[in-house]
Symmetry: C2
């Protein structure tokens, strides 16, 4: 009896369930007798919260729905296993549970922290002569895992951002010079600017694109920002600027936090915080007297499965399947990766965990605040194709655990 367990971890994406679909059907194909899912990742595993995935996926229609379902079907967690030395109890518990269920392979779909979990479990297994295989599957809209060319989730989030920005740019331009408007759009990615960079994809023959892109890899300078807007105003009545949620000033403070001397209190006397875009939009409004707007894509950008990239869906599925294949072949301590041509392989997880990949400086024009061609050449293939939702009564249908 070969048995496998799979978990999902960290922030969801539009295609994390496509990786789960890939894991399931490949495990069935190569002959695993049982395919379990852990609920809420490693945190659920520690409590022995396990389901037999046949319950949900034996029906093939459900696998099609699964691929169109946003968020993590199995639930997620933000639980980070501590070091083996400091936290042996957790490790012992996990292996007890794996042994109890006779599970020989564990697959974990996640980002940086999750790959650290996979590496630690592998290390514990080696040190304690445990026979289980531990394989990671990359997943993050932040696209910040190293070694792999890109991460599933990033393409779909980019497609959502570029599509929505095209719509926002059309909308923003509607009053022309009769009512000039400046929109500041906030995009996820606290440390790496990959997703904010995807704003550059909006530009085309039918769209002038965003007027500037501010990545978190660079110090943010409010004077430069305001001067740029003053300059843009000379020729444009509609301005749209993309900013990373993680912008920091030179002193290392987040734009939305730094130097706050006095905080807004709401109607009920409580202190309020607001985001990077809303901070900047307010400043611009006060400086220019023009109408400004702050737009935050918030969690929608990672969950808009109605607009996912088919390329991303297919790759997510294949990377899930590749992890199973690796486990089936006795590999362990690796993550499945993809190169720029779509070739899939595996790589030592220790080289991946806890390393954050930033946007290459040579792909960004820090003077013009725009992405350069190599970035566009890199990102454009990732947003190709659509996976049409299955609509019922006017709305996309999802698969949910019951």
């Amino acid at each position: 009896m070969k048995k496998l367990i799979v978990g999902q971890s960290g922030g969801p994406t539009s295609v994390i369930n496509s990786s789960l679909a890939g894991v399931y059907y490949e495990a069935k194909r190569v002959g695993f007798d049982k395919v379990y899912g852990m609920l809420n990742g490693i945190e659920g595993l520690l409590e022995d919260k396990i389901v037999d995935l046949d319950k949900y996926f034996k029906n093939k229609d459900n696998l099609e729905l699964l691929k169109r379902t946003p968020s993590s079907f199995l639930g997620s967690c933000r639980y980070k296993l501590g070091s083996i030395k400091d936290n042996e109890k957790d490790y012992k518990k996990i292996f007890e549970i794996l042994d109890k269920h006779k599970i020989d392979s564990l697959i974990y779909i996640g980002g940086n922290d999750s790959m650290d979990t996979v590496a630690s479990l592998y290390d514990y297994a080696v040190a304690n002569n445990k026979s289980q295989n531990f394989i990671g599957v990359p997943k993050t809209i932040d696209n910040d895992l190293p070694i792999t060319d890109h991460c599933p989730g990033y393409g779909s989030a980019s497609k959502y951002i570029a599509t929505t920005l095209r719509e926002i740019i059309q909308d923003n331009n509607v009053y022309g010079s009769t009512k000039p408007t400046i929109s500041v759009v906030e995009i996820m990615g606290r440390h790496a600017g990959w997703l904010t960079a995807a704003a550059s994809l909006a530009k085309g023959k039918d769209c002038e694109g965003v007027d500037a892109i501010y990545l978190p890899e660079y110090d943010f300078d409010i004077d430069e920002f305001l001067a740029r807007i003053e300059k843009l105003r000379e020729t444009k009545s509609s301005i749209v600027i993309a900013v990373s949620e993680g912008l920091k000033t030179k002193d290392g403070k987040f734009v939305c936090e730094s130097g706050v001397s006095e905080r807004k209190k709401d109607a009920f006397g409580h202190v309020q915080l607001s985001g990077c875009a809303s901070t900047l939009a307010d400043i611009v409004a006060q400086k220019t007297g023009l109408k400004t707007r702050a737009i935050e894509f918030s969690t929608i950008q990672r969950s808009a499965s109605h607009l996912c990239s088919l390329t991303d869906v297919n790759e997510a599925e294949s990377l899930g399947a590749a992890a199973v294949e690796a486990a089936h072949n006795g590999k362990t301590g690796v993550m499945s990766i993809i190169d720029g041509k779509g070739n899939i392989s595996t790589y030592d997880i220790h080289e991946i965990a806890n390393v954050e990949k930033k946007v290459p400086t040579e792909w960004y024009d820090n003077k013009k605040k725009q992405m350069k061609k190599p970035f566009l050449d890199y990102a454009r293939p990732l947003i190709q194709g659509e996976l049409t939702p299955i609509y019922k009564d006017g709305l996309p249908v999802h698969l949910v655990r019951k």
Copy 2:
């Protein structure tokens, strides 16, 4: 020579261009020799900014693109003609321009203020023996025009809101009890709660729906709101609440403004304002200690043409065409309207302009903060069907004026 001019006014919608498409092809069909467009509505007309629409729409492929293009193709304005008595200069100017171009019919696609413009132009024409016809076409995501059963733009915005809320609810639930999350989602509609009410459409077999809906037609009570969340917390770890941007406390102040004794200053010393959802999310975070999130759909909800309702598109087109038909038959001072069965006719514009239709009290359960069945029966048909975008290189293509 029969000549017609059409304009678009007020906030854009996903289908305001479908009405424009309907106006254009129907005008051609019934034999108007010229179909002009005014740029930026009545404000552009006052400056004689006029284009011959053959330039853009003779190519039928462009009409298909037009229907898939968000925002107002001709540009919009927020210009309100004053009373005839106080502002005769504007009226004289407009009729001079109409006479100069020998335009006999003016069609204006817009919401409440725009219908006031149509009514005033009609009144001026009657008082001054002018022969032109003036017809309105309803358009507003707010759905607050009277007489007509519903307004083009509302169905698509509702479809966007319900679809996105389904995704947000999935996302919000991802950590389960490992990390309880409360999201407050802000929806447009300052005075009428139609669009916020559409949040109720998210609920289905595969989605538990939003936990509460707060309409602007009712006084907002922060104690009731917090007590509701405390109650929900007893059984739920994921809570999603829909609020109108226009919520006011009993003393008539907007939630985001009222009682602000001290305002947040940002990093650069400027005062900041924030929205209703962000105000409420902050209060909940401070009261509960839980993770909260404010999500604003912002302009995306009115411009997400990639997700428009086919029913809405078709009706918008038909209502545009019906206005032309009315003008062709010599009618004036009317707006095209639609009933609940899809029957289209016209109605005296004076009964429509400046009247705001609210959500019927009997359609809302103010105790449970949920919409009742009659609302669902009313709104569900409006979100049916999809108009698939035309994708190129991974992104929807739009038609833009050059």
